[in-house]
């Protein structure tokens, strides 16, 4: 059940960090972390909470960059190829190249403008 204050309530204090409303399920995050390698044995309680926020930032950035590709194509529906283009065009997302190219896409990697702002 989502409370009135969203996750951002943590920044103004007074919200339960552990069981408060996070945008991503902590148990699932923990599971993914455990699966990432044999070395990962123990995970502190705060780690999934930190990742919940980090993933949110990641998804937001990749979504914004993908949307810029969508707009350049004068479309209103963000599709898979837009995400792939954004990944290819962003250096720090190089770790995703194998993942998105596995989907069998061949999209041109046009350089994107760096103006990330919510525009309608």
């Amino acid at each position: 059940m989502r409370q009135a204050r969203t996750y951002s309530g943590i920044l103004s204090g007074g919200i339960s960090g552990r069981t408060g409303p996070h945008l991503l399920p902590l148990a699932r995050i923990k599971k993914i972390m455990k699966k990432s390698g044999d070395d990962v044995k123990m995970i502190s309680g705060e780690a999934p909470i930190v990742f919940s926020k980090a993933c949110e930032l990641f998804i937001e950035e990749l979504t914004q960059r993908s949307w810029m590709v969508t707009m350049r194509g004068k479309r209103r529906t963000l599709n898979k190829e837009d995400v792939t283009s954004a990944v290819i065009a962003t250096d720090i997302f190089d770790f995703l190249l194998n993942l998105v190219s596995d989907t069998g896409n061949s999209v041109e990697a046009a350089p994107l403008e760096m103006d990330i702002s919510k525009s309608s």
Binding site: G17, L23, M33, G37, S44, V50, A54, V83, K118, S119
Partner: protein, 138 residues
């Protein structure tokens, strides 16, 4: 791609985050959400791997929030690292306040499970999870 849904972040949550950053009139294809699911999941694995390597080299068993912050910086994701350092700081403050107000309220009369784990360095993060034996740090 979604053979084992458990191994990915839930598509509903991912879609919600995408939606909230886009203009209201924007639409998102299902495949785009699935791709984002994959990417976000890979993000977690990638960063965790780096954090875990560091712990291993330093002979520590538990990956904590600081390790994740470090890994984000090490992998070139400096913007995230800065934001997460701030977030972690606020979170730990909130946890401390919660613990101290509980101590005052109950005068330690009711034994709280797992909430009093202490770790000097980082100001009492919550209890370690994933312990094979339920380990209460004192």
């Amino acid at each position: 791609m979604v053979d084992e849904p458990d191994r990915l972040l839930p598509i509903a949550n991912v879609g919600r985050i995408m939606k909230q950053i886009l203009p209201p009139s924007a639409k998102i294809s299902k495949e785009a959400k699935q791709t984002m699911q994959d990417c976000a999941t890979e993000f977690i694995s990638f960063v965790t791997g780096e954090a875990s390597d560091k712990c291993h080299k330093e002979n520590r068993k538990t990956v904590n929030g600081d390790d994740i912050c470090w890994a984000l910086g090490a992998l070139g994701l400096d913007n995230y690292a800065e934001a997460i350092v701030r977030y972690l700081h606020k979170y730990r403050e909130a946890e401390r306040e919660k613990a101290s107000s509980r101590n005052k309220a109950t005068c330690r009369s009711s034994p709280e499970k797992d909430e009093k784990s202490s770790e000097d360095k980082s100001g009492q993060p919550p209890q370690q999870t994933e312990a094979p034996t339920a380990r209460l740090a004192s």
